[in-house]
Symmetry: C2
Subunit: 428 residues, 2 copies
């Protein structure tokens, strides 16, 4: 197929998509990518072109990992029912998952998506605190249900009238003061809520603050925040949909902060693409929730989803992926920092494990955000076979979030391609 034919094939696909799915769907990149195959850290388009995937945090153990595919195929051929019958696989999964949590988190409930998990966490927090007020950060993303849209200001939608939600500034790196400043914002927002007659229910944070621009440091800064939340009579909800399952060099993002959340939600990489998600919780909270409410999610915790999630845990352990995320992430950060030395556009590099943000500004950290350059770089990388994206309030933070099977060779390829793009940008 010639380049022209390819372009018109892509255009036809884009037009067909718009006609069938409507205009609420968005595509990545100026030139959308038409993918047909994935394997490990690589994706392939319809022209056979290979892309290094340095963005997708769902296929976390690698695209189409044979062990996960086999688990899904096997269980789908044996039985797929629901949790109103007894089945052992969902219990094996629950046991394995709970073993990864600190004492205090003792139960788990299954859903199909991170949105459903976060929405359920809100329901549990409302029921057990008697409150309705929630806090999130100003550029947060927590999901797409009606109740989560107000807690996801990064979607850019106006908050509902009389919304019992308060937004606080994200924890901008401020050294040792980071946690105290963030905790003060949270305490003030809960006070404001109470003045309006709204009883606090919870704070929900993505523990890597992904859509806020990737804010991991200093590790431990969430400790005073947990205290502020509890002082207000509210619950701390750790949204681990992005940070969890080894991504940040530890099994859970909150673990970097040495805290024990009241509720933990998880999703995206949990089934390596298969729709499975969960809420882990303090048993006393679920005892109260369960006494007032039953919960049934038709597909949640079904034997196939449970088998997929168990296989993911197996692969994470067998291939040492938590350790690899820490090791390869550190290597990648070192190489990116070397790049920064010769590139004034890179204002800051922040990261934990294989979740890295590269903040672009004109004139250092005090300079103005550089979203246009970020957009150009993202598209240049795509054209040169590397997939990343951008995030943050000003969309000026390159978001690097590859599958956990990323090796130093893959990191080298990413950094070299990024180096070229930066040089292209610098050359105008």
């Amino acid at each position: 197929m010639s380049a022209d034919d390819e372009t018109s094939a892509t255009e036809r696909l884009v037009a067909r998509r718009k006609r069938l799915l409507g205009p609420a769907y968005r595509l990545f990149y100026d030139e959308p990518v038409h993918l047909v195959r994935g394997e490990g850290v690589f994706l392939y388009d319809s022209a056979g072109r290979r892309y290094l995937d340095a963005y997708n945090n769902v296929a976390s153990v690698g695209h189409c990992h044979p062990r996960v595919v086999e688990a899904i195929a096997r269980q789908a051929g044996i039985l797929n029912t629901h949790t109103r019958y007894l089945h052992e696989t969902v219990l094996d999964l629950a046991e394995r998952l709970l073993a990864t949590f600190p004492a205090g988190i003792g139960n788990v409930m299954f859903t199909c998506t991170g949105s459903e998990a976060n929405d359920l966490a809100l329901r549990i927090a409302r029921t057990t605190t008697g409150g309705s007020g929630f806090i999130a950060t100003e550029t947060a993303y927590h999901g797409v249900t009606s109740a989560l849209v107000d807690l996801s200001p990064s979607l850019g939608l106006p908050p509902a009238q009389d919304s019992p939600v308060r937004l606080v500034p994200p924890p901008r790196p401020a050294g040792d003061a980071t946690g105290a400043v963030f905790a003060r914002h949270v305490a003030t927002a809960f006070d404001d809520m109470k003045k309006s007659g709204i009883r606090p229910a919870g704070l929900i944070v993505d523990t890597i603050f992904s859509s806020d621009g990737v804010l991991p440091d200093p590790a431990g800064f969430l400790k005073p925040v947990v205290d502020a939340v509890h002082a207000a009579g509210a619950l701390f909800i750790a949204d681990e949909v992005q940070a969890g399952f080894g991504r940040c060099g530890q099994m859970w993002g909150f673990a970097r902060h040495g805290i024990v959340p009241d509720l933990v939600t998880m999703g995206k990489p949990m089934g390596n693409g298969h729709p499975v998600a969960a809420v882990a919780a303090r048993p006393d909270l679920l005892a109260e929730f369960g006494a007032r409410s039953r919960y049934f999610n038709t597909f949640g915790g079904n034997p196939v989803s449970a088998a997929a999630a168990l296989a993911v845990l197996d692969v994470i352990a067998a291939e040492g992926l938590v350790e690899n995320a820490g090791r390869t992430g550190a290597y990648l950060m070192t190489r990116l920092r070397a790049l920064q030395a010769s590139c004034p556009l890179i204002a800051e590099i922040r990261g934990a494990g294989l979740f890295i943000g590269v903040e672009l500004r004109d004139g250092g950290l005090a300079g103005s955000p550089a979203p246009k350059q970020a957009g150009r770089i993202v598209n240049l990388l795509r054209d040169n076979g590397v997939l990343i994206s951008a995030s943050g309030r000003e969309a000026n933070v390159l978001k690097i979030r590859p599958p956990l099977v990323f090796s130093t060779e893959h990191a080298d390829l990413l950094v070299e391609t990024l180096d070229q793009a930066l040089q292209t940008i610098a050359a105008g």
Copy 2:
């Protein structure tokens, strides 16, 4: 394994489940069933006992249908990404789905569960009407998200304070007047809403009224209801999660009523157990929604989910399952009506296709509901190898909802086992 060993194995599993998952989970039957295998219309427990599945509307083309299993396994091994890249399978699925709808329904958006689909339909209705008020029936079930709990009174939870939801009595069969009476209830509820300063957004109905006790007749009764909804400036949301995909002898439950909804939601049988669901809509509604809001559901419409749903559509067509649902459903209704002649406990039999409700009352339709007898029958059937359940406000309606591959032989086995159970009950 002896019967005693089996009982204690079940008890251990129940205890383990409670310890890991907490108390919000419920099991079916006095003696929970521990399932290990499924094939066609049959399920098998850990002791090798066979159960005729006359209840599960998810594995609608039969448990572990090889064509669906193969589609999932194949695509899971090739690529599983999301809708921010181009992929053809989700478009093929959208095209095939939309071809089953009347003119007027022209776009489809994908989610993972019926709850997510209904929640998205609420969002679209709120955005496009500018209203926030919704109506559902008094015993409705529409899902588990925060926004849907108030529209799911069958869950038995108290409505949220200041909820903009109004509940109306379900459309009890009243011959030709059924629709007019129901439409009047709906119009009155919208009027009441407006008096409280709440702008109407929509009516959501399960088009077979499953949790209301299965209320299909007379076909066409929803026509005046659509008019009442539109007169109030609101949208008609057809929740096809239970009634859709051939269940009622037509592809969609609303088609029996000769209406065109504004929004249609679907889920459960869509992937035969794989978590996939969708909202189909008037394109002008999605144009407005999309102009104000982007929508991204990480797993929604991924290539594997799309392949599963396409395979289900293939099987429905190849095996003539819509027609079979109509034919076998009619046969089953005839046999159940014959049973009714000699059984005073059966007050009414209602159904469409393979969605049948058998209402039990002491002393005919005017008599008192018989939920205890319904419970005993459900458990007796389970003990004799047939799975059904009960529904309705008084839990006195036997709910019969087998996979669509049900044959007359399966219907005979169900009716004979039910006959025995009714005789056991009659004998005291």
